[in-house]
């Protein structure tokens, strides 16, 4: 999609390019021998800088007061200024905490707030995944700031179409690249979670292990809905063609029991298909289990 005003391209890529120049410059600085400065010179310099800093702090506070007064017409730029001023005035812990909090957006910096030498000329971005409130695995992508921008290394599983996504977006819109990758990874994590939950909590309902591919977008299993029953009359095949979703696009349930004439089986089969389309996999089986309990209760009473 084209942007009438594509500032994200200018924003992130431009400052990564800037970084490249800075890296070569700072490398030169490290090689220069440290200059001997007299104690008193440093002391004077520090005093002057502190003075200037205090003056600027007061000025920024004033601006913040003015901006807060006209919040109704606040432009996005002004809001950014307020946060910047707060960040400078805030404590180190607060900023470190906020950096950590970015993981809840799905994207944050790997080992942010880090100290120590950074040898690779790049930025390491960490992508978090979750499914229905369950926080799942994280993956990282190490980007090297060069023209063209490239991925140095990453922990993205091989069956996620990383090449495709980077070919589409990496050079033109890093933001889009990361969010798209985030979508794919979250969908994969969600499908995997559903399959794992099914295997872990509802093994009794399955005849044998759940069959799945590494992308967890093709699942096949044989199951029953009545816990007491000894046969597994239903055969399911779930296909998730859209890799950015956690619900299947194709569901095929076949009845392979002996009582094929009865219409109630056909009704059940059809209703199961509908369930698998609309509810997460393990929740479908939770409702099977609950219905089974209800049946049991009616037998007892």
């Amino acid at each position: 999609m084209e942007w009438a005003n594509d500032k994200s391209k200018g924003g992130v890529l431009a400052h990564l390019e800037r970084l490249e120049t800075q890296m070569s410059r700072s490398c030169k600085n490290l090689e220069d021998p440290p200059r001997e400065t007299a104690e008193s010179d440093l002391g004077t310099k520090i005093r002057k800088l502190r003075c200037l800093r205090d003056k600027l702090r007061a000025e920024v506070k004033q601006r913040q007061a003015r901006i807060k007064a006209s919040t109704a017409n606040a432009e996005p730029d002004q809001t950014l200024e307020i946060s910047e001023q707060e960040a400078v005035g805030g404590k180190e812990e607060n900023m470190k905490a906020i950096l950590q909090a970015y993981r809840f957006t799905g994207i944050n910096l790997f080992a942010s707030g880090l100290s120590g030498k950074r040898t690779s000329r790049g930025v390491c971005v960490c992508i978090s995944t979750a499914f229905e409130g369950n926080l799942l695995d994280s993956y990282f992508v190490d980007l090297v700031i060069q023209k063209p921008l490239r991925i140095h290394h990453h922990s993205v599983p091989v069956f996620i179409p990383l090449e495709e996504i980077s070919a589409k977006y990496l050079q033109t819109n890093i933001q889009h690249f990361l969010f798209c990758l985030c979508e794919y990874l979250n969908a994969y994590a969600g499908r995997k979670y559903q399959a794992d939950q099914l295997q872990r909590d509802f093994a009794a309902f399955l005849a044998g292990p759940l069959q799945r591919n590494s992308l967890c977008n093709l699942l096949s299993f044989t199951y029953k809905v009545e816990p007491q029953s000894r046969s597994f009359p239903f055969c399911a095949r779930l296909l998730y063609k859209d890799l950015t979703t956690t619900l299947p696009t194709d569901v095929t349930i076949t009845y392979q029991g002996t009582d094929a004439s009865s219409t109630s089986w056909e009704e059940q089969r059809a209703s199961h298909e509908n369930l698998f389309f609309t509810k997460p996999l393990h929740q479908v089986f939770t409702s099977f289990a609950r219905n089974g309990e209800r049946l049991d209760m009616s037998l007892v009473s």
């Binding site: 520090i46 970015y102 950015t244």
Partner: protein, 288 residues
């Protein structure tokens, strides 16, 4: 000696950041140049880091740059964050080597013009085999509230406790809103006589009328919807407003089929080209 040099560096970084905070807001290029400088500072202060890595103030400049970088990257600006933990491990749990911790998080910030305040709880259970982290409660307050599409989305996110999807969809939603606003403003500027924005550029409605035939109006409704899975999609519709006479003259039922034709055109040309061609068709004969 090292500590003083480090203090000089830290002061210089702080002064640079303060100076930028004092600059007048300019065009949207403002935050890109700021982000550029911020990442420059990340590595400037970082190369000095290893000489004085324990220095607090040098660290501040470095952290600030990383924050700015992340907020530019995600489009989400987190301003405040705090967390409290509560140990819920019972004696029974300890015997089975199970540890339970409840975290209460508070987070606030903005995504462009939309501000949010979140409170959520995460329950961490550590047993012998694994560590599980589950969001057990999520409360979201958002302003402004005039984006009606958002309130339904927010309730869904709260119900599902899907924090990541909330941020992801919010980011895309806001980007689409910005794009819509830019597009409307662009057309308003280019065809100032034909295009009207009765509810402003940030709304979902653009009215096109031929300056020579003011009775004819094309109303373009551009909604931005968030579906069940959190996908953000634009939905455009065309409404026609014509005088009764014209309706009677319309033997080919062009006006009736216009909305469908509009949808088809969108699929072929995309949003900008479709709107442009629509406006041009009404302005036939004008000097554009």
């Amino acid at each position: 000696m090292d500590a003083r040099r480090a203090e000089v560096r830290a002061l210089e970084a702080e002064i640079a950041a303060l100076r930028r905070a004092c600059e007048e807001p300019r065009a949207p290029g403002e935050d890109t140049s700021r982000a550029r400088k911020s990442l420059q500072e990340v590595h400037q202060s970082d190369s000095g880091e290893w000489a004085a890595s324990k220095d607090l103030r040098g660290h501040l400049g470095h952290l600030e740059s990383e924050l700015l970088f992340l907020s530019t990257l995600t489009g989400i600006n987190i301003i405040n964050y705090s967390m409290k933990t509560e140990d819920l491990t019972s004696t029974e749990n300890t015997e089975k080597s199970i540890k339970k911790v409840l975290q209460r998080h508070r987070l606030s910030g903005n995504c462009h013009m939309i501000t949010f305040q979140l409170e959520f709880q995460i329950l961490e259970i550590q047993n012998k085999e694994s560590l599980s982290s589950v969001i057990t409660d999520l409360n979201i307050i958002m302003e402004p509230t005039e984006y009606s599409e958002l309130s339904e989305f927010v309730s869904r996110a709260e119900d599902r406790r899907d924090l990541l999807m909330f941020f992801r969809s919010l980011h895309f939603f806001v980007e689409w809103c910005e794009y819509r606003k830019c597009t409307f403003e662009h057309f308003k500027e280019k065809y100032s006589e034909a295009v009207r924005l009765p509810e402003g550029a940030a709304s979902s409605c653009m009215v096109v009328q031929s300056p020579r035939q003011p009775g004819f109006e094309l109303v373009i409704i551009w909604r931005i919807q968030i579906d069940d899975e959190g996908k953000v999609l634009p939905k455009l519709d065309l409404l026609t407003k014509v005088p009764q006479q014209a309706l009677e003259l319309d033997k080919n039922r062009v006006l009736e089929t216009a909305p469908l034709g509009f949808r088809a055109l969108l699929g072929v040309l995309g949003i900008e080209a479709t709107l442009e061609s629509l406006i041009k068709s009404l302005c036939v004969g004008e000097n554009h």
